[in-house]
Symmetry: C2
Subunit: 207 residues, 2 copies
DNA sequence: TAGATTGTTAATCGATTAACAATC
DNA sequence: TAGATTGTTAATCGATTAACAATC
C-alpha cells in the first residue's frame, strides 16, 4: 500500500464506502463514476482520482463493480481485521460510545471499560463490566488493545494517554477537549464536539 | 461580517478559541502569532492570515491582547447569543449529547428532547423530560428552536429532518449516518462517528 | 528612536477539475 | 466494431507559507 495519501482523500473514503454499501444492499451491480458523482454531489473526476490513489478498480467502458469496490475500500480502510478497543472515562459520552462501538456492524470490539470512580466498578455498560483504571496494566498483558478511546475530562486525558502510550497503545480516538502530545508513531483521531458545535454556530450567522 | 470565508479557516477558529481561553485562564495578557504558533503547531503566517479574514485584531510590535482576541473570536463564532437546541432520538448517544450540551459552558441550551418510543415519555434526561415526537409542532410554537440535533437511526433521520425544515428549523447537528438533503438556507453540521473511526483505522495501517 | 510584530502582498504548494488517450 | 468510461496527464483553482513594508 503506497504511503503519503493525503488526509483529504482518506476523509472521503468512508463516505464512498457508505454509498457503495447502500448500492450493494439495493442490488446494484455496477456503477460509473458519473452516476456515483451525481448521487454523492462530488465530481466524477474526484472519485476517479481518489480511487486511483489505491489502484485501478474500474474497467473502461463498464465502470466499477459495486461489490468489488466496496470490499476493496473496506480493505483499504483496514476493516478486514477486528480492532480491539478499550475505553477510558465511563461518563455519559463514554457509555454511549461503548454501546455504539459494539452495536455498529464494523469490526471494532469494545473489550474493556475503565474509570477512576470506585462507584462505577463492575457496573455493566454495553455488555461489559467497568474496571478501575489501575487494572489496565494487568488487562493489557492478557488482551491486545489496538485503540484507546478517551472520553475523559480534559485534564485527565493527557496523563492517561501518556500511561497508555508507555504501555504500548498506538492509536487513540480522542473525545477530550485537548490536543494530545504523543510520539510520531502514535495515531490520534479527534472528535471535538464543541468545535463542531461552534462551526455550526458560525455557519448559522453570516447568511 | 464579510462572507465567503472558507470552511478550512472556520474549522480552525474553535481551536484558536480554546487555546486563547487557556491562556486567559493562566493570566497571560498578550501573545504574538509566533508564540501562539509554537504552542499550536501551526505557522504564525496562518494564524495572522486566518484572523485577518475577520479584521485586524493585533498591534504591530505588540502582538494580540489575549482577552480581546478571545472575545472577538467568540463573537465571530456566534457565541454571544444563546442557541436553543432540541434533540431527536433519545438513545444512548442522544442522552449523552443532551447532557453534554447543558454541561458545557457554551451558550447552547437543550430545551426539548423528543423520541418516538412511548416508553421513554416523561423520562428525565439531562434535566428535562422526554416528549413524544408528535408534540414538536406544538412545542415549536411556544419556543424558538435554533438547532435540531439528530441522534436517530439513519432511516428515521431524513423524514424527521424534512418535517423540522417545514416547521422552520434552519440548523441541524446531524449524528445519523446519512447525508441530509435540505434547502440551501439550511445548515447541516455532520458528526459521523463511524467515518471518524474508519479514518483512524486507515491511519493505523500503512505505517 | 529602535525593535518587534502585525497586516498584507507575492510565491509556493497542494488539491480539485478538466480533458483526453487508452482500452474494455 | 462502436460506445462508454476508465486511468492519467495537464490546467486550474484555492489554501498555505514566505517575505516585507507599515506601524505601534
Amino acid at each position: 500500500m503506497e504511503n503519503n495519501i493525503s488526509q483529504a482523500v482518506i476523509r472521503r473514503m468512508p463516505r464512498y464506502y457508505r454509498y457503495l454499501g447502500e448500492l450493494l444492499e439495493n442490488g446494484v451491480e455496477r456503477i460509473s463514476s458519473k452516476e456515483l458523482s451525481e448521487r454523492m454531489q462530488v465530481t466524477a473526476s474526484q472519485i476517479r482520482q481518489d480511487l486511483n490513489n489505491f489502484g485501478g478498480f474500474g474497467q473502461q467502458g463498464y465502470g466499477y463493480n459495486v461489490e468489488f469496490l466496496y470490499e476493496e475500500i473496506g480493505r483499504i480502510l483496514g476493516l478486514t481485521k477486528v480492532h480491539n478497543v478499550a475505553l477510558f472515562g465511563v461518563g455519559n459520552l463514554g457509555a454511549a460510545i461503548a454501546n455504539y462501538v459494539n452495536f455498529e456492524k464494523l469490526p471494532f470490539r469494545m473489550i474493556g471499560l475503565f474509570d477512576v470512580d470506585q462507584k462505577k466498578k463492575d457496573r455493566i455498560v454495553g455488555g461489559i463490566p467497568v474496571m478501575m483504571i489501575d487494572e489496565f496494566e494487568d488487562f493489557i498483558k492478557e488482551h491486545r488493545v489496538d485503540i484507546a478511546v478517551l472520553t475523559l475530562p480534559k485534564d485527565a486525558a493527557m496523563p492517561v494517554a501518556e500511561r497508555l502510550v508507555s504501555l504500548g497503545v498506538r492509536a487513540f480516538w480522542n473525545f477530550a477537549h485537548v490536543d494530545l502530545m504523543v510520539p510520531d508513531d502514535v495515531v490520534v483521531e479527534n472528535v471535538h464536539l464543541s468545535d463542531s458545535l461552534m462551526q455550526l454556530s458560525y455557519n448559522m450567522t453570516g447568511r
